[in-house]
Amino acid sequence: MELTSPTELAKEKVLTVQDYFMFCLQAVGNLFRKPLYVADMALQADTIGVGSLPIVVLTGFFTGAVLALQTSNTLERFGSITLVGQLVSTSMVRELGPVLTSLMVAGRNSSGMASELGSMVVTEQIDAMRALGTDPMKKLVTPRVVATVFMLFFLAIISDLVGLVGGLAISKLLLGLDARQYWSNAWQILVFQDIFMGLIKPVIFGFIIATVGCFYGMNARGGTQGVGRATTQAMVAASVLILAVDLIVTRLLMATLSYR
């Protein structure tokens, strides 16, 4: 196996990052240039948003449930079992709802976009589109980016709510807590900063999911093997980027929003 020199590897990575940023700029810039493919955006919103609903609901529910279960043990030792609702609420809204939802959607849609667009590249459909006078970035990429950002916002909200329901199920059925107490604790602990953090993250992550998936798809080369590689790389890159950006965004928001 031929080894690549560290310099060449570094250059390659920097070039990829540069290309990715140019790709993102173009995807966003297309929103201000005609034509706008609104019908394609609606179609993608259905595929990405409505299509991801079952997995988001399941993820949210079980995450909330296991959170309640795991933390109940520790809370009970301090005589604070009634705080389960608060813990599930803040954890889901601030962090787990947006992040886990985004990871699930990345696995489903980022890889899907990469494979769909990659297949189009290797079968010359992208070239055909350009030959027919249509900009593939405007027709294929921008609608996916807009749809993912838009729908992930609502998917995160649904995930948070279903997560709280999961926590409630465990609290009531296994821990014997009062449902009204659970809900009022869950509701009262939330402040504007929590909601803001929980809603800004899906917007950012949605952008990452779509742009990474489309970037790897549009740059797929080398036939079916290349498409397979692009699909895997898109999913891995999107997931890692979501986790890394989550840390940065959380820290930034905590500093700027005067968190207690």
Binding site: R130, L132, T134
Partner: protein
């Protein structure tokens, strides 16, 4: 034009007069398909100029090329039909992009061009439901719908059986003789080009007929042969048959 250290085309220069059909030959990897993509501005050459319909495509930005491409029709090697769209939507693609709505006029034009390629009955089928030859014909219909001034065919009979290949060539000859459109045809099958040079489309009989010996088709036809990235022959069928170049004689034998 090179990809890394691999120089595919070098010093290529030729002229396609309006109304003429030029067949481009060469072994696999000689850069035939690349010439078509360069002509369409899908790829930029490392050096040189390419003038298409009076415009230098090497100096144009992508958004400027879209307008020029409206006058050019291209048939890709594997048809390149859009999998997620039906035959109707594939053929109407360019018109839909221009007009936004699939109206009666677009429907009429789609049916007309599909009738030309004898596939009107496949309107609502998906590309996956078509045979290779049918997909190729739909791709031709998609390229023809806007009555382009220049047609680019990339191995239109590649991978097809002899009978289906003949059907495709008959369609190309029909397009050539009825509409007199300029065309670049990339192929590795010599028999396709010789068939085109020795046959003409009879509109009354609605089929391709063999021309009498010594007679050539009304539409001028020329041949371009590539070897090692260079042009080694550019001329008519008579010059090709009479050439003394050993490689060319072996190629056409």
């Amino acid at each position: 034009m090179a990809f890394g250290d691999n120089e595919v085309l070098r010093g290529i220069s030729f002229h396609l007069p309006r109304g003429e059909t030029k067949a481009i030959f060469g072994v696999a990897g000689s850069g035939k398909s690349l010439i078509l993509k360069l002509a369409l501005g899908l790829i930029r050459p490392d050096s040189g100029r390419i003038i298409v319909l009076g415009e230098d495509v090497t100096q144009m930005q992508e958004n400027q090329l879209f307008e020029l491409r409206g006058k050019i029709g291209m048939v890709f090697q594997e048809s390149a039909l859009f999998d997620s769209l039906s035959v109707r939507e594939n053929v109407a693609f360019r018109l839909m992009e221009e007009h936004g709505v699939y109206d009666d006029d677009i429907d009429r034009r789609v049916r007309e061009v599909l009738r030309f390629v004898e596939l009107e009955h496949t309107l609502d089928l998906d590309p996956g439901e078509l045979s290779g030859g049918m997909r190729r014909r739909v791709a031709i219909a998609r390229a023809l719908i806007t009555h382009p001034e220049l047609l680019l065919y990339d191995s239109p009979t590649g991978g097809l059986d002899p009978v289906t290949s003949n059907t495709i060539i008959e369609l190309i000859v029909k397009q050539r003789d009825v509409y007199k459109t300029s065309a670049l045809l990339v192929t590795h099958r010599l028999q396709d080009a010789f068939t085109m040079a020795s046959h003409q489309f009879d509109q009354k009989a609605n089929r391709m007929v063999h021309l009498p010996k010594g007679q050539h088709c009304d539409v001028p036809m020329s041949f371009l042969i590539l070897r090692d990235g260079k042009v080694i022959f550019d001329g008519g069928v008579e010059q090709l048959v009479q050439t003394q170049d050993e490689y060319i004689r072996e190629y056409i034998s």
